[in-house]
């Protein structure tokens, strides 16, 4: 019953989404306020209906209703409750429901908080959202229905893939999807602005909080995914330039560019047409990210051809939305009036450079991901594009971007002075250079990338702090004056500085990977190994039963100069329901680094292959990402960004703008 109710709610949501796609749009075209006002309640009710469908599926998973194909294939009665819940989106059908659920959530939020904006813009944007929702619900119902029944119902399910039975599954996909789908708001507003043919700085003010929200979640989602890979894969790799990762990196790069260009548009009324393009691009790449992965094209052309129904539907959706919005852009974009003028050396100029480099980086990843496919389809020749390619192409672009970064926030709007900024940053540059040289002198034979990376990271972190310092500290001012200046500084400026510091921290963590220590050994209980600054003893190896697996684990003791600093328990789990095993690395954080131990295969003589790693400063990679997200949140909490302010912005728009 519950399941049928969920199924029915999803069908109703489809019907209502079609109404939302057509009626408000028609109202906006004819200037009919009543038709336009359909959009808001429709968006709210769609959210309610999709929530019912989502809850129904979750209920079926929790009570282990194996009469559902989806539950049978992905669940097991003995599975812990948390994985029964997160297992809902641990499969294709369920993850599509989560995707649509988040889409409906964002639509409802726009309906709730979008009061201040012009009716036509909101109606058109919500219509675009309705169109998106209708298409994806249709996709679910026609090709990926999670409510399909199985007769007769099996006694037991096939269990969720063991590698997904991890807390990471509860967090990573929702975060990633909140990021991907969050960009749909910017996309819908871009389409609405193109349909309207009008665009001004206020548009950027309405859209920027949504972009920022999506960006925060995507940043956290990617970081979480990479940490999950790090502790699951058993040897501590965290980024592989695999198409599925690239698929999440591309919208992040485009979204970061959008975030910066929207600032220029909001403050200076410039880069408007370009910002619209980026809004379309960020969501198009999100769609590509979600669905190209799902179509199977990336895995292999042959896998796609063997089951083409879903894939062809997906490609049709991609062509419809990406092609459609870009066509609309090409048609209506030139009609939008360009705005503000600025000198090449200015904050705007720096942000243009930021956009140029970010979009180049994004395009590099795009081509690297899809080129092998295109080449194979055209010539049947197979090539591989892996980490060495990105190191040579993406690397230099990123390096230039990182070096230029500290200059941006320090430059004045409209016309800046490079010399003055360079003078202010000279302390940071000198410190960075000194540290890099120190590292080179200490480790003469290490790779050059490490001191370079550390130098750049120090430059970014200090540069951001100096910029804030310059705004807060005035010569001769008392402590209380300085404090009140710091408090008075807009939170968006603190947010910018925090996000940039976070990036620097991540770069520092990446650079430090070079100094990692790796030990691959055959060990038996009682053996001790030197691992960087620590000594690791494998004290005991034993087995035990888990709820739905059996595991072999080792007790390892980490010592530093004879003193025990930590106990670690790496394990290997065997899941009999799927006849597969997973590696549970034993990880302990010491300072900012981690000792990472994973177990390999056992040998007949009682020994065991063991991998031990010392990864100095490795946690900085993810701490940096969290600082970036925190910076985004700070910026989001800025008074100017609060959504209620949009109403005042509308009235302010009518008045002549004072020069900034």
């Amino acid at each position: 019953m519950v399941v049928e109710a969920g199924h029915f709610a999803l069908v109703l949501a489809l019907a209502l989404a079609l109404v939302q796609a057509v009626v408000p749009f028609w109202g906006a075209q004819t200037g009919d306020g009543q038709l336009m006002s359909v959009a808001r309640p429709a968006a709210l009710v769609i959210f309610g209906l999709v929530a019912v469908a989502f809850a129904a599926l979750m209920y079926a998973h929790v009570v282990s209703d194996f009469s559902l194909v989806n539950v049978f294939e992905n669940s097991h009665s003995a599975k812990p409750l948390v994985y029964k819940i997160s297992g809902v989106w641990g499969n294709h059908e369920g993850s599509m429901i989560l995707w649509v659920f988040i889409l409906a959530l964002f639509g409802a939020l726009v309906a709730l908080f979008g009061r201040g904006m012009p009716d036509q813009l909101r109606a058109n944007a919500l219509a675009a959202q309705g169109f998106l929702a209708a298409t994806f619900i249709l996709f679910i119902l026609l090709t990926s229905n999670p409510f399909a029944r199985l007769v007769p119902a099996p006694i037991e399910g096939r269990d969720l893939n063991p590698i997904l039975q991890d807390p990471g599954l509860a967090i990573h996909p929702p975060l990633l999807y909140l990021g991907y789908v969050g960009f749909s708001i910017a996309f819908s507003f871009a389409v609405a602005a193109l349909v309207d043919g009008r665009i001004d700085a206020a548009w950027a003010r309405w859209v920027r909080p949504w972009v920022l929200t999506a960006w925060i979640f995507l940043t956290l989602g990617i970081a979480m995914g990479s940490y999950w890979a790090y502790y699951t894969l058993g040897w501590g790799g965290f980024w592989f330039w695999d198409p599925v990762e690239n698929a999440s990196l591309m919208p992040w790069l485009a979204g970061t560019a959008l975030l910066h260009s929207a600032t220029v548009m909001e403050k200076r009324d410039a880069l408007k047409v370009w910002t619209i393009f980026l809004a379309i691009l960020a969501f198009s790449l999100s769609l590509l990210g979600t669905f190209l992965v799902r179509s199977g094209v990336l895995t292999s052309v042959h896998a796609f051809a063997s089951d083409p129904t879903r894939g062809i539907f997906i490609l049709a959706i991609l062509v419809l939305f990406i092609g459609g919005s870009l066509t609309l852009y090409a048609w209506r974009g030139p009609r939008l009036k360009p705005g503000g003028i600025f000198a090449p050396v200015s904050r705007e100029g720096a942000l243009v450079l930021n956009n140029l480099l970010l979009t180049t980086a994004c395009l590099t990843v795009f081509v690297g991901t899809l080129y092998p496919l295109a080449l194979e389809a055209l010539t049947k020749d197979k090539i591989s594009v892996g980490p060495p390619f990105y190191a040579l192409t993406f690397g230099p672009v990123a390096l230039v971007l990182l070096c230029a970064l500290p200059f941006g926030p320090s430059l004045a709007w409209k016309r800046g002075e490079l010399l003055g900024v360079a003078q202010r940053l000279s302390v940071a540059a000198a410190a960075a250079l000194a540290i890099a040289l120190l590292i080179v002198s200490l480790r003469r034979h290490g790779p050059i990338l490490a001191p370079l990376g550390v130098g750049v990271a120090v430059f970014i972190i200090l540069g951001s702090l100096i910029d804030i310092g310059g705004r807060v500290v005035k010569r001769g001012a008392s402590l209380s004056v300085t404090w009140s200046r710091a408090i008075g500084l807009p939170r968006s400026i603190w947010g910018t500085a925090a996000a940039h510091v976070g990036l620097g921290v991540t770069v520092l963590g990446l650079a430090a990977t070079v100094w990692g220590v790796e030990l691959i050994v055959t060990a038996r209980a009682g053996n001790t190994f030197d691992l960087g600054p620590y000594q690791v003893t494998i004290a005991d190896v034993a087995s035990r039963e888990g709820p739905n697996y059996r595991e072999t684990y080792a007790e390892a003791i980490v010592r530093s100069g004879g003193v025990i600093v930590a106990h670690v328990e790496p394990a290997k789990r065997f899941f009999s329901s799927r006849q597969t095993s997973t590696t549970q690395a034993g990880i302990v954080t010491l300072g900012l680094g981690q000792v990472y131990i994973s177990l390999g295969d056992a040998n007949a003589d009682g020994t065991m292959a063991v991998r031990l790693y010392w990864k100095p400063l490795v946690t900085l990679i993810w701490i940096g990402a969290m600082i970036m997200a925190f910076g985004g949140a700070l910026s989001l909490s800025d008074r100017r960004m609060r959504i209620g302010v949009a109403r005042r912005a509308v009235t302010a728009r009518q008045l002549p703008q004072p020069a900034e």
Partner: protein
């Protein structure tokens, strides 16, 4: 890289492989040769895996190629010779860094092209704007400026 696909693609593929690539018994006694072997392995694709280097893969084929690379190193081959040998056997597909050929011209030049074309576009947009900025006043505008400056309004 099946496990990874599953993580980021949330369960698109069914079976995960627990990682654990280089085994203790493969490691060479000469650390310099072993270091070269690891560096080479990181640039070679495990051809039955998804975008995974033989250094990261626990597939049987990856192990075979790792051992092959080590055998060749032991017999004194240079890195380039080993790569050449593997390409002759398995094709360019085995190289994670695609060679620079006519076929991959666009792939390698994309970043440069994007930067160049982007810069030109920005430069041209800048010129167009500056010409707006410095367009001379017409007669009516000039008269109005004079009137304003004279304080008539």
């Amino acid at each position: 890289m099946r496990a990874l696909r599953i993580l980021f693609g949330t369960a698109w593929l069914m079976v995960a492989t627990a990682a654990g690539a280089v085994q203790p018994d493969e490691i060479m006694s000469d650390p310099a040769l072993e270091a070269r072997a690891r560096a080479l392995s990181a640039q070679l694709r495990c051809m039955v895996c998804q975008n995974q280097s033989i250094d990261d893969s626990d597939a049987a084929l990856a192990r075979d190629i790792r051992l092959l690379v080590r055998d060749r190193l032991k017999s004194g081959d240079s890195d380039a010779a080993i790569k050449q040998f593997l390409v002759a056997r398995y094709g360019n597909f085995i190289l994670l860094k695609p060679p620079f050929t006519i076929e991959t011209l666009l792939l390698w030049l994309t970043p440069l092209l994007a930067l160049a074309l982007g810069s030109i576009a920005i430069w041209r947009a800048g010129i167009a704007k500056r010409s707006i900025e410095t367009a001379p006043l017409d007669a009516a505008e000039a008269a109005r400026v004079d009137a304003l400056l004279a304080g008539d309004e």
